[in-house]
């Protein structure tokens, strides 16, 4: 399995990511159910932004977008500059599942380069509750990085 060929960020890129992550349905079920709307904001160098969404609904995972925060209604928004997104994804593509320094959690804990934004505490707590599933989805961008059973 090579890197996703669609350009990032784009809906085809996120669709392919989700397709890879959900290819092994048993592994997804092993991660457990989730109810979560994860907003992703990519800040471009010209000051504009692109927004996409991941929807975790039971055992189903789907991508949405391009969209807006108002239209998507995310529990949280994971926001960062395009460079940070491409570096994170590039590292996973090159090395497989993210290490602590290249994980969604590791890259957002200090508020840079990524910020996790939510309108209330329940949103940010959902980011913590479903972190394993979210990371498994992004890890699927990696070469030879199927979702690992038991990795919750």
């Amino acid at each position: 399995m090579g890197a996703i060929t669609a350009p990032f960020p784009s809906r085809p890129w996120f669709d392919e990511l989700v397709a890879r992550a959900t290819a092994d349905t048993a592994a997804i079920e092993r991660l457990g159910i989730a109810e979560f709307r994860f907003g992703m904001e990519i800040l471009l160098s010209d000051g504009s932004r692109q927004e996409f969404g991941l929807v975790l609904d039971g055992y189903d995972i789907s991508a949405e977008g391009p969209t807006t925060e108002d239209a998507f209604g995310p529990d949280v928004v994971f926001s960062g500059p395009l460079d940070a997104w491409t570096e994170m994804i590039g590292w996973i593509e090159a090395n497989g599942p993210a290490d602590s320094g290249h994980s969604l959690n590791g890259l957002s804990i200090a508020g840079i380069p990524f910020e996790v934004r939510s309108s209330d505490a329940m949103g940010s707590d959902k980011f913590y509750r479903f972190m394993g599933t979210l990371q498994a989805v992004f890890d699927a961008a990696g070469v030879d990085a199927p979702v690992a059973a038991g990795a919750g």
Binding site: L31, G32, I33, A34, E35, G58, Y59, D60, P97, D99, S100, G101, S103, N105, G106, I109, A110, D120, A121, M122, S124, D125, K126, Y128, R129, F130, M131, G132, Q135, G150, A151, G152
Partner: protein
């Protein structure tokens, strides 16, 4: 004590003379056909009709399933938590399903075979943090267990969720004990100050008080420690441990936040009581940042060595401090309890947290 053995029934039934009262005369709702949702038959799916009606005050103190036809003469079980608002939260059914679905095994799901030798100081730091976490996690099993048998069976969904928490915390205690003993180190130091904090939770005089101290405050702090641990992990082994624990802990915090919200919606006058509990409990946050056994291992894991940690100074601690206090205040806001202007924390702890003001000189 007589259990009410009916010898004459034994004789009649042996002759085929059945009573069949349970078959013909039961007064509970019949004809219920819960429809499974796409993940299976959930607790939300069966929360229907009379079976989805939870009384604000339990009419009896029995173990009879809510909605069943309860025979006259059932014994009084002596429950002391008989009001729904004392334990309920609007998300408790969903949190129970989530908890059951997202269980994991500290034996099977951690890639223990991938542990590699670490710098001795880093290994010592990891073992010290594992010691503290193995110590504090079990109180979050002890506290619900202490109260479970006092909670009326009418609120069975809340009891079931607390049972999942007991299992979660047993697993957290297990996984950190295993980590301490798995890579050439061992257990570190257990301190009196941490034990006093645990005692505060365990000795809470009411479920309200203990839940505020534990679910909202204590577990909120530990959740931030787990998040930091996952970000600072020296290997995929620790990353997986902290990530899995973080998911569990966030469920418990979500219950605590929404329970407090429900409690205050039903009885706003309780706010003064919760402020008093948290006035006392916030010393825990200050304690976290004045306990070397927590501060220093975290700094060493962040920096990679003792020397680098000393150079890094308070930077790693500041990230953790801002997250702990910031997340705590957001949860209080969501629950409907404004703590921003009356924190019982020293200025040094709340510096940089938007809107936070200390109400005391510490």
């Amino acid at each position: 004590m007589s259990l009410g053995l009916d010898l004459s029934y034994l004789e009649r039934s042996s002759r085929g003379e059945f009573d069949l009262g349970w078959l013909r005369d039961t007064k509970s709702e019949w004809g219920v056909r819960a429809v499974p949702s796409k993940t299976g038959l959930t607790m939300r799916d069966i929360f229907i009709g009379s079976y989805g009606e939870v009384p604000d005050h339990a009419p009896m103190r029995t173990m009879a399933p809510r909605g069943s036809d309860v025979e006259v003469g059932v014994p009084d079980m002596g429950y002391t938590v008989n009001d729904k608002c004392e334990v309920w939260s609007e998300n408790v059914l969903d949190l129970y399903e989530e908890a059951v679905s997202r269980q994991w095994s500290a034996t099977r799901d951690i890639p223990w075979g991938d542990l590699a030798p670490l710098d001795p100081d880093v290994e010592h730091a990891m073992c010290q943090l594992a010691t503290v976490l193995s110590e504090v996690e079990m109180v979050a099993a002890d506290f619900p267990a202490k109260w479970l048998w006092r909670i009326n069976h009418e609120f069975v969904e809340a009891k079931m969720f607390l049972c999942t928490q007991v299992m979660d915390e047993a697993r957290h205690t297990e996984v950190f004990r295993k980590r301490a003993l798995a890579n050439g180190g061992g257990l570190g130091k257990a301190t009196a100050v941490i034990e006093r904090f645990l005692q505060l939770i365990l000795d809470a005089e009411s479920y309200d008080e203990g839940s505020a101290l534990m679910h909202l405050l204590g577990e909120g702090i530990v959740l931030s420690l787990f998040r930091a641990g996952a970000a600072l992990s020296p290997s995929p082994v620790e990353q997986q441990i902290f990530r899995l624990c973080m998911q569990d802990e966030a469920r418990h915090v979500a219950y605590g936040t929404m329970h407090l919200r429900y409690r205050l919606e039903k009885d706003p006058s309780m706010a003064a009581d919760f402020h008093a509990y948290l006035d006392k409990g916030e010393e825990m946050i200050a304690m976290i940042f004045s306990t070397p056994e927590i501060v220093e291992p975290t700094a060493i894991l962040a920096a990679g060595s003792v020397e680098a940690a000393c150079e890094l100074g308070a930077a790693a601690g500041d990230v953790l401090r801002l997250q702990i206090v910031g997340d705590y205040l957001k949860r209080c806001d969501h629950a409907g309890l404004d703590r921003r202007g009356r924190l019982h924390l020293p200025d040094a702890i709340i510096e940089g947290v938007p809107g936070a003001k200390s109400a005391v000189t510490v």
